[in-house]
Homo-oligomer: 615 residues x 2
Amino acid sequence: MAKRYLSLISFTDALERMKKSAQPPNRTETVLLDVAAGRVTAEPVYAKFSVPGTNVAAMDGLAVHSLGTSAASDQSPIVLHNAVRVNTGQSVQPPHDAVIMIEDVWDEEGRWVIRKPASPRQYIRPAGEDIKKGDLILPRRHRIRAIDIGALASYGIPFVNVFAVRVGIISTGSELVPLGMMPLPEQSVESNNFFAEAYLSGMGATCTRYPIVPDDPDKIEEQLRQAVRENDLVLLSAGSSAGTTDFTEEILKKTGKLLFHGVGIKPGKPVMMGIVEKVPILGMPGYPVAAQTIVREFAARLLEYWGMAPHPTYSLRAKLAQRLTSELGFDEFVPITAGRVDGKYVVFPLSRGFGVQSALVRSNGYLHIPSSVEGIEIQQEVDVTLFDNPARIDKSPFIVGSQSILLHILADHMIEQGIVLRCCPTGNLGGILALRSGTCHAAAIHLPLLEDHTLPDPFKILKNRPVLRIVIAEQSLGLASRKEIQFSDIREIPILNTERGTANRTLLDTLLAIKNIPVSLVKGYAEEVKNPEVLASRVANFNADAAMCTQASARSAGLSFLPVGTDSYELVIREETREDPGVDALIRSIQSSSFKERLSELKDYRTEKTGIISR
Amino acid sequence: MAKRYLSLISFTDALERMKKSAQPPNRTETVLLDVAAGRVTAEPVYAKFSVPGTNVAAMDGLAVHSLGTSAASDQSPIVLHNAVRVNTGQSVQPPHDAVIMIEDVWDEEGRWVIRKPASPRQYIRPAGEDIKKGDLILPRRHRIRAIDIGALASYGIPFVNVFAVRVGIISTGSELVPLGMMPLPEQSVESNNFFAEAYLSGMGATCTRYPIVPDDPDKIEEQLRQAVRENDLVLLSAGSSAGTTDFTEEILKKTGKLLFHGVGIKPGKPVMMGIVEKVPILGMPGYPVAAQTIVREFAARLLEYWGMAPHPTYSLRAKLAQRLTSELGFDEFVPITAGRVDGKYVVFPLSRGFGVQSALVRSNGYLHIPSSVEGIEIQQEVDVTLFDNPARIDKSPFIVGSQSILLHILADHMIEQGIVLRCCPTGNLGGILALRSGTCHAAAIHLPLLEDHTLPDPFKILKNRPVLRIVIAEQSLGLASRKEIQFSDIREIPILNTERGTANRTLLDTLLAIKNIPVSLVKGYAEEVKNPEVLASRVANFNADAAMCTQASARSAGLSFLPVGTDSYELVIREETREDPGVDALIRSIQSSSFKERLSELKDYRTEKTGIISR
């Protein structure tokens, strides 16, 4: 079976080809001012009339003829006779040519008295001071902001001609179901059309989500032809980009012209582009992580090139907290989570797994590794793109380490006080390493406890740096199995093992040592599962007979549970940062009675030690 | 007449009082996923099911039982018998426990052959790898981004519960007309409601614009009571904040409680706040510049405090290009235009006139001068807030100096090549000073020319720094008057004079010198009008009998015109920056035939010299 991608072109080359072949549609539409914010002007906008329309008072006071006031002074106040009371904005007409502020006028027995003269035109806004009829308000290609909306209203513009782009979004794949339907185990909910619509309509495009098309080349072609008739750009999200049902390339070749298929970009390598009836077609992989990168790096760039408004992004220079590998020849986009610790910005790369969409949700930006770079070392300064103002993370406590629902509850508890936690999932070891290098405020760790037994000290890599540990909550760990088992069965049953450094693994190893069972005799021991969260469900799904997991996981998977020890979920903090406002807020939250109350609503967790600090 | 503001409270104090008294409405609403972008979650969102729902293939290939492949090697390939062709995403079930990439499979006479073994679980995405049923997707108070929309769809969430705030916007003022009506000279189009709606709905609020209420306390009260019933926050834009028709304070006292009236903030000093039936009421001055500041600094802050999403803004450290005065005790917000010259960011303050809404439109950010600061010196570093990514101004040529429609046409011409001009109106002198201090790429100046006469050299302050001048276009300057006049009439008629340094003024002075007329004999000479754009309309409006202006202005104002000289509109560039890409683009644009063609469509301008460079 042949290699699918005969030749990859470079990312830069692909962008060039796209811009050269995809001519701007020059579509415009006229929108009411109410809905014009965020749109981009397709032509200059000129004032319908002058503002102010005539000479008007700039202050509340009296309109006077300045000549008649010249004699006024403290010594010889004068009484005004032909003055007229005016409010700000009211017309001042000849012979009146000045306004005296009401504060400078004395009311003496119903007569108006002044003590200093008015100069001609004082406190008068001349006609056209703000804008003159026919003056330019907004140039072409200007993204309309709220302040522009106010001005356009003031200057008499009820509707605006703006650029418009119609984007058709087709999702193909027999395994897809529409949102709202419960997918069968092998099915997925179509989500690329939702993402693409949200992202591109945020730039001012009008998006049409077409119904899901099954993997049938005729039906895909039919839908494509309709979308081409109705749009300026068509996105085709393929159900499978290199499988037996990958028809996009042949359909593009049949109905139009293929520009490229396969680009040195990760994720999103199988991206392809063609032109059908002058309409550019972007074929993207079905995986959400890849599809979203293609929408952002191709479709959005094309729309911006066509005059639409880009999404706001922020550039940030920060220290990379974990080493990153990357492949030469590939422009790679890595989701990151950025935080600020000890006044310095740090970024942690998140999972690059093409199936891990949840990493995107946890990210607050991304790192673009150019194709000429082969990996980035830890602690190196990198430029990342943030989705939000860095100022918003400045005051966020930054927690790195093992994940737990307990951390979500803590975050939810703290947000009530206006404090946004930022968390990065790395596992125990990642958290402790981050603590050592000072790239987090606190490490979140699952600490294994086994009564009467000393367990390996996970903190020894901190090399005597003084740390504080604060307990969040505890839960029981043990062996989950489909049939009830005893410790003595452990040689007989295939188990799922977890990575070194996890609480599960530590307890299992200790248990085996206590029982004097050589690990070589334990089936499945040699293979490590990265994600401890899936252990129970794998046992339930017959992928193994037993695994170490929490009592809660075992219960929710309907498995039998043999208790082994305790998992104490704790935050570890460097003692020197104890007084840091973010750290202090963390500790006070954990120790608050309201937090403990919320934890006690969870079954499976013990809260007797919650909030206890130890060294 | 009494002073209106007995006591101003500080801005900080006002914000504190606002937050303390205006309790969060805790209103939420459920929205469809299609329209959830930009909204803020009112509760945590959990996954409806696990993704993937079962173990699935991570690659296109063959699903195999790994045990049966262990013997495969290059030397002894094996034929697969119980393998199943799977595409990415398809279910892999026992006994199959691994996937072999299609690239590693040989099709030999219809039989599948492999040359290396498969390890258990290879290329299999375990059930729940991305997310497990019940896992947290989004925490509370999370602003929903496009990437979140994609994930929410994937995880089966068709609608989301988000925070909602209802804002009612009432504009009062008998001088106001609704947008779409042509205002009489003394009237204004109501625009504060449009601005407030655009700004606050951009944060996720639902805004109601109520019909304009005339200056009648009973009607205002009635409208206020209705708005209070229907909203969580009411904005009351007063037609006149310190005039005879300023009823807001008494209405607030009557219907509820006044929190404050008068704050040390500029613009917007007369701002007031009250609580009616637990609903906060924000009373703002009617002037758009002031009203917009109050919406941004009070209403938007309150909404953010209530959990709504703030508008994206950018912080920038830049050099202040002009001295700024400010009053102690006032937090002042000054519109600015920021640019980047020679790699350094510079900001110019724009007009702070409360009637000059057009300055806001020209601004790309603002400078907040705290109440403790009394003025900022030129060249000082300041922190400004930009509305847009600073990267977007990095490549913009920055032109400072005199305004002209010619500059708008140049900007419109350059935008076709993707180059955005940034311009700051300062007049001739401001432009030349900016050129001297290196805070602009080019100074735009109106250069007066009078045949056979040497005029004062505006460039002498550049002190022999070599500059290049490039002509954009020329037009005729002369005396505009209602009745036809001769030079000899100049002693007899009141004229409007312009500021020193303008082309009009220079020509008038030269004319008087040639004619040997002492300026003391010219009526009106002593008073200088700042804005030369309004000269003709003032003459037309009987504010004077004559003024120096362009032939075009005289014609459009229906005035008689007596030619005096020429106004050459030119860009002045430091010779050392000639090769700067931005400067180069400027010059090439001006010299292009397409630009000259566009200019020739304007009557009144001469283009023979357009593009000519001199030293």
